[in-house]
């Protein structure tokens, strides 16, 4: 029994010795640290790339937004400029002088269409407030012409308010004979100077 036990043991030893005596095969070398470093680097690269892509996308979005904003502002500015130009052109066309007979402040028939044009302009452009200046020719006294200029301006104002322009958008002032429009002492010069002027304010 003992012998029977010893033999397998010896066999095992012999086999074991035989095995031990063979050159061992090289174990596979796995550099876990390198693998980990590589993985981390790739992850970092991916993260960095994602961030870069995100940054680029955000920058592009911001650029597009800025461009859009600039375009919008430019369009708004252009629209404002055009509206202002239209306003000024309409004002220049509408705000023309009316004239008066000597020592009179009544609105002449030939000037009523001009006043209607001024009223239409003021209705179209709500931002338009107008100062009406009353003027006289050089003849007559300073005091009387100041009063006459006042009445001429008031007559124009009353006509415009009757056409539907709010009185609060109109103001009057008289310069009497102190600011002639044209020089000269002919009847034509006197008529040109007996006037109401309409100025944006």
């Amino acid at each position: 029994m003992r012998l029977r036990t010893i033999i397998p043991l010896s066999l095992l030893v012999t086999l074991g010795a035989g095995v031990a005596c063979k050159k061992p095969a090289p174990a596979p070398t796995v550099d876990l640290a390198a693998e980990e470093a590589k993985r981390k680097a790739e992850a970092e690269e991916a993260r960095r790339k994602a961030e870069e892509d995100k940054r680029k996308a955000e920058a592009e979005a911001a650029r597009l937004k800025q461009e859009e904003e600039a375009k919008r502002k430019a369009e708004a500015e252009e629209a404002r400029r055009k509206a202002e130009a239209d306003f000024q052109a309409a004002a220049k066309a509408a705000l023309v002088d009316i004239n008066f007979a000597f020592d009179k402040s009544g609105i002449r028939d030939e000037d009523k269409a001009k006043l209607e044009g001024i009223a239409e302009f003021m209705k179209k452009f709500a931002q338009a407030n107008v100062k009406i200046e009353g003027h006289c020719d050089e003849r007559g006294t300073v005091e009387y012409n100041l009063a006459l200029g006042e009445r001429r301006a008031a007559a124009a104002q009353a006509y415009l308010t009757n056409l539907g322009v709010a009185a609060g958008r109109l103001s009057t002032i008289s310069f009497g004979k102190e600011r002639p429009k044209v020089e000269g002492h002919s009847e034509a010069s006197f008529l040109a100077n007996r006037r109401a002027e309409f100025k944006l304010q």
């Binding site: 007559g140 006294t141 009387y144 006042e150 009445r151 008031a154 007559a155 009353a158 008289s174």
Partner: protein
């Protein structure tokens, strides 16, 4: 300098101020209606109260006090063109002074109170006239000089100083009351509304 605001219920433009001879009141013109009518007002500097002297829907302006401060001459177009009117300093006893022509303005009382110089549009030109209150008649002083305006009396009442000519080229002249001795006064141009004061 103390500035006193114009009082009263009227808010229209104010111009053509004229001190009373005693310096206690100020007459002036004020716009009193939306149609641009103007009226003569008198501000009492002591009380700060404003009294409206004219109430017609027309132009009333150019107030000139008489030397005693009891009357005011002014121009008004209540009858059509401007004419010279008189009233007491409280606005009572108003009457028209000038009857000829349709454009008489710029009254200026003489130092003694016996005459009023004024400007009349006569034959298409503006000339100086003098109204003698004792006689109730006016006399033409200047002729042949276009647009003679803004008369003011010499202290001795023998001469008038006035402006004449076109607006930019207005020059000063003096004349005696016959109109025969009209003389240029200096070489300045662009002058108007002269005053003649006694040397001190």
């Amino acid at each position: 300098m103390k500035l006193a605001p114009m009082g009263g219920q009227y808010t229209g433009h104010v111009y053509a101020p004229a001190w009373s001879p005693d310096g206690k009141r100020l007459a002036y013109t004020q716009v009193t209606s939306r149609s641009g009518d103007t009226d003569i007002m008198v501000l009492d500097l002591g009380s700060g109260k404003v009294r409206r002297l004219t109430f017609t829907n027309c132009l009333n302006t150019g107030a000139s006090w008489n030397p005693s401060g009891t009357q005011i001459a002014f121009e008004s177009d209540r009858d059509g063109g401007p004419q010279i009117f008189l009233m007491e300093a409280d606005g009572s006893n108003m009457r028209r002074l000038t009857q000829k022509g349709n454009y008489n303005t710029s009254p200026c009382w003489s130092p003694s109170g016996s005459m009023i110089a004024f400007v009349a549009r006569f034959e298409g030109k503006f000339d100086l006239f003098v109204y003698k209150l004792g006689e109730g008649k006016d006399y033409q002083i200047t002729t042949g000089i276009s647009s003679s305006e803004n008369p003011a009396w010499s202290p001795d009442e023998r001469r008038l100083v006035f402006s004449s000519g076109s607006l930019a080229g207005k020059r000063l002249f003096t004349t005696d009351l016959s109109g025969n001795q009209t003389l240029p006064f200096g070489n300045l141009t662009g002058c108007e509304m002269p005053e003649w004061t006694r040397s001190r």
